[in-house]
């Protein structure tokens, strides 16, 4: 199995992949050695970490076993904002060769830094990601993640080159050109956000291009949560295998975890990123298999180590061995982020719940958007759903029935009333990056 997964076109073996198959005891030893080093590094070079550890009377020597990590304080997103731009760097700028930043929709962006060694680690984990998804030397990867401050584009680029694949650095957007290149270059793998690929499938249909007839065989999708329903749709419509990958800029970018051929959970590259699952309310570490918030510690980052970073992503760890032979633990696919959650009339709502309801009624996921408004102090939730040829009818009664069934399915899951509006096709904005599913207008001009 191991050989099969790592075979490239000439039967070679990529050396970075060895870490995927370490015996558990060796892996834990690597983790402990690296954890002790990174905690020392953070303590010695980052004022915030040192101050927080001092407050608790901790020194780096407190880390004698992996479980000792639980004594360390958490790091949260606002810590990155509060120390903007360079306050959490553990390396002098002379050693930093790259900066990335989040889009910064709320206030200041968050900035992340990489030394040359960090870039090498990032390239390695992304090469392992692509290999996990069945890519090898000889593959042509169209990289439709955005190049620039966003980590997706360059992260995937360096990883694919490290693997030895041929990269087409097309970046995001210009869908017609994307489709032309897929066809003309006989592209065999493509990476982007799942919502953008759904848009690409739609556009290919309009242009009369049958993606299933092209050599494209692997889709690597990340940067936003997506459902198994979307995967089924993508795999059937494009004739590919669609893999989920996971990462976040604060930790490294893409390359934290990846699905393998088994497609049951994402292998965490835990020789570089140490995972814990905590109760998001109490901060308590939960036992294996329990669902909670993923917390990650970077084990080898130099420029910007992260100690127990709270990702806000809700998942659980799978400790059972995987059929692919990798010994790396898996995390379940991220269905929801505690960040995406919104509260309406006291009810916690995740967009994925709305998605599940729409999928159940229509069979495939239509384009939709959730709009929150406030009317005389009362919160309203509207869901706009684009009409598809599958549900459209010339009969008013039949359409009213579709609308009622959609509303009912959502209300059944959420337990609150929603306004369901059917809208014309292509009226909901398509994303070329992360899909914007929720528009909150509750604080506008009221």
């Amino acid at each position: 199995m191991l050989k099969e997964l790592w075979n490239d076109a000439e039967g070679g073996f990529h050396p970075a992949g060895a870490a995927d198959f370490l015996p558990e005891s060796a892996l834990r030893q690597v983790q402990l050695t690296r954890l002790r080093a990174v905690v020392s590094r953070a303590y010695d070079h980052v004022a915030l970490f040192r101050q927080r550890m001092d407050e608790r009377g901790l020194t780096p020597s407190a880390i004698q076993s992996l479980d000792d990590i639980r004594q360390l304080p958490f790091t949260v997103k606002t810590d990155l904002r509060d120390t903007y731009p360079f306050g959490l760097f553990a390396s002098p700028l002379g050693e930093v060769v790259r900066l990335h930043a989040s889009s910064g929709t709320t206030g200041k962006p968050i900035v992340v830094a990489y030394t040359r060694e960090d870039i090498a680690v990032w390239s390695e984990v992304m090469a392992r990601t692509f290999a996990c998804c069945g890519m090898h030397r000889g593959d042509i990867l169209q990289n439709a993640f955005g190049y620039g401050l966003f980590t997706g584009g360059l992260g995937a680029h360096y990883g694919a080159e490290e693997l030895g694949a041929t990269v087409v650095p097309v970046s995001g957007g210009n869908t017609d050109r994307q489709i032309m290149l897929i066809r003309d270059f006989a592209v065999s793998a493509l990476c982007c956000t799942p919502s953008y690929f759904t848009h690409l499938i739609e556009r290919a249909g309009e242009l009369g291009v049958d993606l299933r007839a092209l050599p494209l065989r692997i889709g690597i999708f990340g940067a936003e949560p997506w459902t198994d329903g979307m995967r089924d749709h993508i795999e059937a419509a494009a004739g590919i295998r669609a893999y989920d990958i996971y990462g976040l800029s604060e930790i490294i970018g893409p390359g934290v975890a990846s699905e393998c051929a088994v497609q049951e959970g994402l292998h965490l590259f835990e020789d570089h990123f140490y995972p814990e699952i905590i109760d998001p309310e109490t901060g308590e570490v939960l036992p294996d298999g329990a669902e909670g918030e993923l917390v990650l510690t970077t084990l080898s980052k130099k420029a910007m180590p992260m100690i127990r970073y709270r990702t806000r992503d809700i998942t659980s760890l799978i400790t059972e061995p995987c059929d692919c032979g990798r010994t790396l633990r898996r995390m379940r696919r991220i269905g929801r982020r505690s960040d995406d959650m919104f509260i309406i009339r006291g009810v916690n709502v995740y967009p994925s719940q709305v998605e599940a309801a729409l999928l159940a009624v229509e069979g495939t996921l239509p384009h939709y958007q959730i709009i929150l408004t406030r009317d005389q102090g009362l919160d309203q939730m509207a869901v706009e759903v684009e009409v598809t040829p599958e549900v459209f009818s010339d009969k008013v009664r039949a359409l009213e029935d579709v609308r009622a069934r959609l509303a009912k399915a959502i209300e059944h899951i959420l337990g609150i009333r929603v306004i369901l509006r059917l809208v014309e096709p292509r009226t909901i904005a398509r994303s070329e990056g992360k899909a914007k599913r929720v528009i909150d207008r509750r604080h506008e001009g009221t």
């Binding site: 309009e206 009409v387 598809t388 040829p389 459209f392 009818s393 010339d394 009969k395 008013v396 009664r397 359409l399 009213e400 609308r403 509006r421 059917l422 809208v423 014309e424 096709p425 292509r426 009226t427």
Partner: protein, 145 residues
Amino acid sequence: MTLQQLSLFLENRPGRLGAPLETIANAGINILTLSLADTAQFGILRLIVREWDRAKQLLEDAGWVVNLTEVVAVGVDDRPGGLAAVLAALEGAELNIEYMYAFTLRRGDKAILVFRFEDPVRAIQVMKERGLHPVDAEELFNLTT
């Protein structure tokens, strides 16, 4: 014997009706008749055009969801009681009429009733048995040009 009717989904807000009509007008396609069903939130535009296949393609290319339905057209005398006579003839045949609309011809003294039946084939059979005159596409467009 049936006619092809195009239906489009429209949102019920200002300006939505104009766009699809413009699309087919620009292609030089004339609309024989139309009907608009509306609810508070959305509308369904139903069109009868001679070149329905070309119109359908144009509208779909422009992004509308278009549905193709078989409807039945019947010619009646354009006088008081014309429609009532047709409905009376259909009574008791247990034909379910989903909806209907009517228009008069430019020349002559005929009106055309357009019916959407659950089962158009049986409806045509019943109409013929009861002395009504369903018109097919060729006949209808000859009458109107």
